[in-house]
């Protein structure tokens, strides 16, 4: 089950970069997060998940990556504000895709932008945080998935 959910995020990120930047996104080996100080890459956004699943979806990317990506969106003068908006948009997009795949019970909040390189990942007890590294044009970014299926969810 968890693997299927992670695949949804992989496909969503791949599709996003296919649409926005003519592809080029590739995934590194996923691993379990647990070191907050190293998870963040400069700009991060988080979306809270409730309903059939609980937890958070994070997307974090370096400034360089975002500056390289923003022109693909027509923003020729990237700045920090646009970078923050972009990580929020990407987080929202992949969470929205997950909602489409997992149904209305997968409730998503609005993106919350987290400033700074340190990313304090909120992980529910007895759950883990999967880190999905994404490289696009040599620029790193990460999708962090920390979800726990609600006990009531069949």
């Amino acid at each position: 089950m968890e693997e299927d959910i992670l695949k949804i995020f992989v496909q969503s990120v791949t599709r996003y970069f296919d649409t926005i930047a003519d592809g080029g996104a590739s995934f590194g080996t996923p691993y379990l997060g647990g070191e907050p100080e190293s998870a963040g890459l400069g700009f991060s956004a988080v979306i809270g998940i409730t309903g059939a699943y609980r937890g958070n979806i994070y997307y974090t990317a370096s400034r360089e990556k975002l500056h390289a990506l923003l022109p693909c969106l027509g923003e020729t003068e990237p700045d920090d504000r646009l970078c923050a908006e972009l990580v929020g948009e990407i987080t929202n997009t992949i969470s929205g895709d997950a909602r489409e795949q997992l149904g209305g019970g997968f409730m998503i909040s609005t993106p919350f932008i987290l400033a700074g390189g340190t990313l304090a990942v909120h992980t529910a007890k007895h759950s883990v945080c999967y880190v999905l590294p994404v490289t696009w044009r040599q620029h790193p970014s990460r999708v962090l998935v920390s979800l726990q299926k609600s006990p009531d969810t069949p």
């Binding site: 968890e2 693997e3 992670l6 695949k7 992989v10 590739s26 995934f27 590194g28 080996t29 996923p30 691993y31 379990l32 647990g34 988080v46 979306i47 809270g48 998940i49 409730t50 309903g51 609980r54 958070n56 209305g104 019970g105 409730m107 909040s109 919350f112 987290l114 909120h122 007895h126 883990v128 999967y130 880190v131 999905l132 590294p133 994404v134 490289t135 040599q138 790193p140 609600s150 006990p151 009531d152």
Partner: protein
């Protein structure tokens, strides 16, 4: 609801009730009688007036008649003397004297007399004394005169008679005239008196009737005024009573409100009233604000609040349910039974990001106004702790079997060994995670990078296989199975010609599963630690030399594996040698011996029947013995079995199939044997629980050669035996 407390109006008594109509009836009769009286008096007055007027007129005419009579007599006398025709005067004299005579006699005795209007008039006799005197005096003068005049009027009177009559007329004319004049004046006086006397009762009656006419509405109004006054006084008294009652009730209400407010302030439940539009009423409990995380709720729509907190589907259900609540045609009992909000999850936006999810329990009661549902009473409770507890219980129930499996597996394991196993799993999982955190392999488009990913995968495989071997050593079947399932996934990935990062999703998920199992193991260890006695002995065991414990574990491992593989074995261990070599690296030695034992049983030891067929004892003999130190200071252990040894042909075939050696290439036996240390290399037709993944030898090589800097020597005679000699640097700590 406040009842109407105004006192009833005092009921009029029966006598009072009858009196008023009687009074009004009497007054009405009085007015009728008075009216009749007035009418009668008016009629009589009119008659009296008419009679009196006629009498006055007749009296007045008498004056004129006396003069006309005298004049006619004198005219007759003159005409007679002059020998002139005197008939006219004679007629006049006859007519006038007759009329005068009739009238004067009428005055005297009453009777019909010729009226002034030519009609007969019934003359009443005079009654007044003065009139009587005048009439009497007049008659005394008149009657003799009338006799003389009658003689003249007959036309037969003599001259003397005529002269006598003239003389008498001349002498009596004035007195008669005066008397008639007096009669006229007196008649006027008596007539006025008569009219006045007749008018007085009529005036009295008019006055009485007038009074009565005005008295009825006056009395009615006075009666009404009195009644209204009484009513007003009664109402005032009633008002005062009501005011006093209201004051009492107000005081009671104030007390009740204060108590209600106190309850609403302190009750640990959200209480409110909503109308048909879902609008929250003015008064609600303070807890409601806390539950909904709002500063103000009165006047807000509960549905709108819930719309922001519930999923779309749940909100639509709730909206429909509110419709049912206010539908008076639906039985309340039935509606309450299908309440969808008994324990609903709501999600409040968290200012710090994400949501705050709580569970709220709603209950409803209708408040009816006649046949209409006027309001609905809503009670809300934050049931999060109860729900969370229930969920935990359900979760615990779900995990019960899994934890029971783990528990059954660990109860027989000494705490020190369990701790050692947990530490090993922790270490291997960390190793796996470090291996997977190779983000630089993300863009693995080149063959080298793919190969590097494969190497990482093999590293993960080694860790999992090691966990599996150690689990088997401690008979932790749950972990053994979990690791085996993990290995299956890894083996599938190793078969992929091209590897991408996202291919590792199953790996990381399996890793998370193992970590979760490890968490459960740690929890159970902690719980068991509290239950188990003699902790000192356990800690002592943890510090004890590894040889003895490891030997017994290995024996058990071999027994179990042999039983699973339907083989028969006997394991001989030189405890001291094992103890010596494992002195400062017990985990490594343990891991190596585990893999050697499992490998031997899986690949070298034959079935009892096959052994017997080749002249061997049915039970294979496995031996672990010490080796003399090498010249370069390595100490060693030998793992020997009397099985069939290495099958070089099969090794070659497998090596060729997997590309380790070229088909038909000239390869020395040593080179062929080295193939068995390649990760994933196995001559087993199918992987099994104990071997066949091709990772055991890889682990041995990795730990002995790569990790410890030792060496491995393999001796084998096909059909006779197989012996692995493991050399390790001498322990840094001397073993006494």
């Amino acid at each position: 609801m406040i009842a109407d407390q105004s006192p009833a109006q005092p009921a009029p008594t029966r006598g009072r009730r009858l009196l008023a109509p009687l009074v009004y009836l009497s007054l009405a009769l009085l007015i009728a009688a008075g009216g009749y009286g007035i009418w009668t008096y008016t009629r009589d007055l009119a008659r009296a007036t008419d009679v009196n007027n006629k009498r006055i007129n007749l009296a007045g005419r008498q004056r004129a008649l006396s003069q006309r009579m005298t004049k006619a007599l004198l005219a007759y006398d003159r005409d007679t003397r002059a020998q002139l025709p005197a008939n006219a005067a004679l007629g006049e004299l006859s007519k006038v004297s007759g009329t005068f005579n009739a009238v004067i006699r009428g005055f005297d005795a009453g009777g019909t007399v010729p009226g002034t209007d030519g009609k007969e008039f019934l003359m009443p006799a005079v009654t007044d004394a003065e009139e009587k005197r005048i009439v009497r005096d007049a008659l005394e003068l008149w009657l003799p005169l009338y006799d003389r005049l009658q003689e003249v009027a007959s036309g037969k009177a003599s001259a003397e008679q005529l002269a006598s009559a003239v003389d008498m007329a001349r002498t009596r004319n004035v007195p008669i005239f005066d008397l008639m004049n007096d009669l006229t004046n007196r008649t006027e006086v008596t007539a006025r008196a008569s009219i006045a006397s007749a008018s007085t009762p009529r005036s009295v009656l008019i006055a009485i009737v007038s009074v009565a006419v005005f008295l009825i509405p006056g009395l009615y109004l006075w009666s009404r005024a009195r009644a209204e006054g009484r009513r007003a006084r009664a109402a005032l008294g009633s008002l005062e009573t009501t005011y006093a009652q209201l004051s009492t009730q107000s005081a009671n209400l104030a007390t009740a409100k204060a108590e209600t407010d106190r309850i609403m302030e302190t009750v640990q439940e959200g209480l409110m009233l909503i109308d048909a539009n879902g609008i929250i009423g003015e008064h609600h409990s303070r807890e409601l604000l806390a539950i909904f995380r709002q500063d103000q709720l009165a006047g807000l729509s509960l549905l709108n609040l819930l719309q922001r907190l519930l999923s779309e589907k749940m909100f639509n259900t709730t909206k429909d349910y509110f419709g049912l609540l206010f539908d008076a045609n639906r039985k309340e009992k039935t509606v309450l039974k299908v309440n969808p909000l008994t324990d609903i999850e709501v999600n409040f936006p968290n200012p710090a990001g994400g949501f705050i999810h709580r569970y709220l329990g709603f209950s409803f009661r209708r408040i009816m106004d006649g046949d209409r549902v006027a309001r609905v009473f809503v009670a809300v409770r934050d049931v999060t702790p109860q729900i969370e507890l229930e969920k935990k219980l359900r979760e615990a129930e779900k995990n019960k079997d899994r934890q029971l499996d783990i528990l059954v597996g660990i109860v027989h394991v000494p705490p020190s060994e369990l701790e050692s196993f947990a530490r090993l799993v922790e270490t291997e999982l960390d190793t796996i995670n470090r291996t997977l955190r190779a983000e630089d392999f993300a863009a693995a488009s080149t063959g080298a990078q793919i190969e590097a990913l494969r190497e990482r995968l093999k590293g993960v495989f080694r860790s999992v296989h090691n966990i599996k071997g150690n689990a088997a050593l401690l008979q932790l079947s749950y972990f053994q199975k979990a690791a085996d399932a993990f290995e299956t996934k890894l083996a599938e990935l190793l078969d992929h010609p091209v590897l991408n990062g996202d291919d590792f999703l199953s790996v990381v998920v399996a890793q998370a599963g193992l970590r979760s199992d490890l968490g459960d193991l740690q929890d159970l260890r902690a719980k068991l630690g509290g239950l188990r006695s003699a902790p000192a002995a356990h800690s002592q065991a943890a510090l004890a030399p590894a040889g003895g414990a490891l030997a017994s574990q290995l024996r058990k491992l071999v027994e179990d594996a042999a039983r699973d593989l339907v083989k028969s074995t006997q394991l001989n261990i030189d405890d001291f040698a094992v103890h010596t070599v494992a002195a400062d690296r017990p985990d490594l030695v343990r891991d190596v011996l585990i893999q050697l034992a499992r490998n031997s049983l899986a690949h070298s030891v034959e079935s009892p029947a096959a052994r017997v067929a080749t002249g061997k004892p049915a039970a294979a003999t496995l031996t672990i013995r010490g080796l003399p130190p090498t010249a370069d200071g390595l100490v060693g252990l030998a793992f020997h079995d009397d099985g069939k040894g290495l099958d070089l042909e099969r090794i070659r075939a497998r090596a060729e199939a997997s590309g380790l050696i070229a088909p038909g290439a000239l390869v020395s036996p040593d080179e062929l044997v080295s193939c068995i240390f390649e990760p994933g290399f196995s001559t087993a037709a199918q992987p099994g629980a104990h071997a066949g993944r091709g990772m055991g030898m890889d682990i041995i090589k990795s730990k002995v050669v790569d990790e410890a800097g030792g060496a491995i020597e393999v001796l084998s005679t096909p059909g006779r035996f197989c012996e692995f000699r493991v050399y390790l640097p001498a322990p840094a700590v001397a073993i006494s």
